[in-house]
């Protein structure tokens, strides 16, 4: 441990919330220290207050009701909470840098990249244009961006999420600050991009001897990058210590629960008694979108796969791989450009709306976003029973069945008369599952059903899927970007990349012994708990 003063020291920090929230303090009595060259991760689920701490250090809390009401934050020998706004402004960007979660909206859309990084220099130093440009070019090269001379004059819309995040990092580190605060910088990125950005941050931190305060919800990231970790639960720091200690031997009950809830990524040795005939078969399915302006995008390129009754097939891929498109084509929501989709031998892709009617009940879908999958103006009961009513089932019978389904997913009958906004994300997903099951489907398509949920809630919903699958002997098409989830849930796995099926086979085999280079890359990129932060 370095013998010098800690770079950052927080003592007994309280941050208030506006009146009427679910608790009076966002953060209560938090204390932590961070030494130079050290990486500290603050881990927690949504609503834990972890981001609040980061914002408080930078003085970026969304006042006036949300502000520090007690405690001290000491940085660089100064009491940050006592500083005026203009004093804080001189610190920000120069001594403390910060990067945020959403790269797509974090850059000014009508300002060139070079200017956005150059701003940092010009706001803190008196510097000539030529020298500024040179330093910006160096900063861009430092974060591994290709072709800096062209990038410097480009606008953000030309860059991908990962590239924009690198630009943000370049701007944050331009003046070599002593402390970098990273607020969930990789959460919105693909898993392969995430791995690259984490590597970059780690390398830069090491090279400059910077202190790093990293906010995340993912314990895998903690394992990759942290020297020490602090766990937050509803505003209170429940556990803190060296990363390896906390990960291997969590002391607090909450930490144990969180770590246990992480999908273990182990494939189960399932030997399902499966019907030999395929329930669903995709034969050379292609889907091409025509954009305004004449450009064509191939979302699916000749995909073929089968799904048997009682089986769970995982479709795994990153964003843009076409995995969601498969789900939409199978359910008939999106017409295909060519190929066949055979359901019990009949090509349903050729059927019109009328022909599809009898299949409506047999193929159903559970969606990703719990906040958008239920109509906010309709009661839960209406959401669940509408499908049945469309099929001609009498109202009373439909209602009874809805109550049954709600209890199956762990909700009471009183939920029928409530509105979706009265439920949490996890509960809404359960309602979505109940709705999908209402029509007694044989095939259930689950499109990233747990991606928007907190890790502890994820585990519960995945359990529910398992239960439901067994009870109704469903064929399940499980779409996800998370390999660990796929390993846990699926019998067979299909890996998609840019519209193509690159690997396809038994889950255990694909995930333990991948043949295709891309699959190997994907697996390598998954942040794993076992990996030691070296």
């Amino acid at each position: 441990m370095p013998a010098s003063d800690p770079v950052l020291q927080i003592d007994g920090l309280d941050i208030s919330l506006p009146p009427g929230g679910d608790r009076p303090l966002a953060v209560s009595g938090v204390s932590l220290t961070l030494a130079a060259g050290e990486a500290l991760c603050i881990v927690g689920e949504s609503g834990s207050g972890k981001s609040m701490i980061a914002n408080a250090v930078m003085g970026l809390l969304p006042g006036p009701h949300v502000r520090p009401t007690a405690g001290r934050i000491r940085f660089d020998g100064q009491e940050l909470l006592d500083l005026s706004e203009s004093q804080m402004q001189t610190l920000r960007g120069r001594r403390i840098g910060m990067i945020f979660q959403e790269p797509m909206t974090a850059l000014n859309p009508i300002m060139r990249i070079g200017d956005q990084i150059g701003e940092v220099y010009r706001s803190h130093l008196s510097i000539g244009r030529k020298e500024c440009r040179e330093r910006v070019l160096a900063a861009l090269a430092d974060v591994g961006l290709p072709d800096p001379t062209r990038l410097i004059d480009s606008y953000p819309f030309r860059l991908s999420g990962g590239q924009r995040q690198r630009v943000m990092i370049a701007a944050a580190l331009a003046l070599e600050p002593a402390l970098l605060i990273a607020d969930e910088p990789t959460t919105a990125l693909d898993v392969t991009t995430q791995a690259q950005i984490l590597k970059l941050i780690r390398a830069l931190q090491r090279r400059r001897g910077m202190a790093l305060l990293f906010i995340t919800h993912d314990f895998g990231v903690v394992a990759e990058i942290a020297d020490r970790v602090a766990v937050m639960q509803r505003g209170i720091m429940v556990e803190a210590g060296p990363a390896r200690d906390v990960l291997d031997r969590p002391a607090h009950v909450y930490t144990q629960k969180l770590i246990a809830a992480i999908p273990h990524g182990q494939t189960s040795d399932r030997a399902p008694a499966m019907a030999p005939a395929a329930l669903l078969e995709l034969d050379q399915v292609t889907k091409t979108y025509r954009l305004p302006g004449g450009r064509e995008v191939a979302a699916l390129k000749g995909v073929s796969l089968t799904l048997r009754k009682g089986e769970t097939l995982g479709i795994v891929g990153e964003s843009g791989s076409g995995k969601s498109t498969i789900g939409r084509c199978v359910t008939g929501l999106t017409p295909i450009s060519s190929g066949r989709i055979l359901f019990e031998g009949i090509d349903i892709s050729k059927l019109g709306p009328k022909g599809l009617k009898p299949y409506r009940g047999r193929i159903q879908m559970v969606f990703q976003d719990p906040y958008a999958s239920l109509n906010p103006r309709h009661r839960v009961g209406s959401a669940i029973t509408t499908g049945m009513l469309m099929q001609g089932i009498p109202k009373a019978k439909a209602r009874d069945r809805a109550v049954e389904l709600l209890s199956l997913v762990g909700l009471g009958a009183e939920a029928l008369d409530r509105y979706p906004h009265e439920f949490s994300g996890g509960q809404r997903q359960r309602i979505g599952i109940a709705r999908a099951l209402a029509m007694e489907p044989e095939l259930l398509v689950a499109d990233e059903p747990v991606s928007a949920l907190d890790v502890s809630v994820q585990a519960q919903v995945l359990d529910l899927f398992d239960q439901v699958r067994k009870k109704f002997d469903l064929a399940l098409l499980f779409i996800t970007h998370d390999l660990r989830v796929a390993a846990q849930m699926c019998d067979r796995v299909a890996v998609m990349r840019a519209g193509e099926l690159v690997e396809y086979g038994e889950a255990a085999q694909v995930l333990r012994d991948p043949r295709h280079a891309y699959t190997q890359e994907l697996i390598a990129a998954v942040p794993r708990l076992e990996r030691a932060a070296s």
């Binding site: 859309p109 009508i110 701003e119 706001s123 606008y155």
Partner: protein, 324 residues
Amino acid sequence: MNRARFAARRLAQGLVALLLIVVVNFFLIRAAPGDPAQVMAGEAGAGDAKFVAQLRQQFGLDKPMIEQLGLYLGHVAMLDLGQSYRQQRPVAELIGERVPATLLLTGAAFVLSLLFGITLGAWSSARVGTWGDSLVTTVALIFYATPLFWVALMAVLVFSIKLDWLPGFGMATVGQDFSALGHALDVAQHLVLPAVTLALFYMAIYARMTRTSMLEVSRMDFVKTARAKGVPRGRIWRVHILRNALLPIITLAGIQAGQMVGGAILTETVFAWPGIGRLMFEALLQRDYNLLLGVFLFTAAMVVLFNFLTDVLYTIVDPRIELR
């Protein structure tokens, strides 16, 4: 070049719209009460059936509708909008005489409303919750709710009649022999009241819109990033927030510029300003439908032009617009 292609496409779309309006115009003229030939004859020799028939033939009013439409389209393409029945002069000529006055009025009002509206809106957005903000918001709300013609009348009543500070009638003092500079100043003096009253309503719109837009943009992620970089507050406000907030204002201004021509009709009527708005009023009084619709068509052309200019300006300002 992408921008040129986009501009060309928008221009083409505008012209198609204009063409359709010309066709609509044609049918509206036919829908006007009275037989155009009889109306024309009415002034000269009413009741003389032979004369009316002669006029009808002369103006091609006895031909089938489609042919008449074709003739009309041809005329319009040649910028011939027919004759004003009452004033016995070509409509296009009358319009041509009056256009400069309207352009002067609407131009001045446009600049005034944008300048003051945006400034006030931005100013109040930086002071949300203070008395300054409340004042601007309330005043804007009141002017937004006030009928334009009434404000004009009140302005004449107060500033011209009661206080006698400014002239409230016409564009220039009649019967005076001014030097060029003197004439310009005289016109400027006459311009004040009409331009300011016309500007007030739109000023309110821009102030409100700018304030809303600024507040919205100030909540966006990239503003937080700028703060985290330690960019001084003034620069954040000017460069990051204002520029992004002005994008929707440009579109709005383009639409409002067209609408302002409609507002000019009322203003010119009250102030007796010799522009095409007043021409339209005169046409109304005299039931001169040919002239009325000629002016109407012209205003449509002005709107198409303004919309086109706005589109082009927008593509220059927003780098995200490329291929369309």
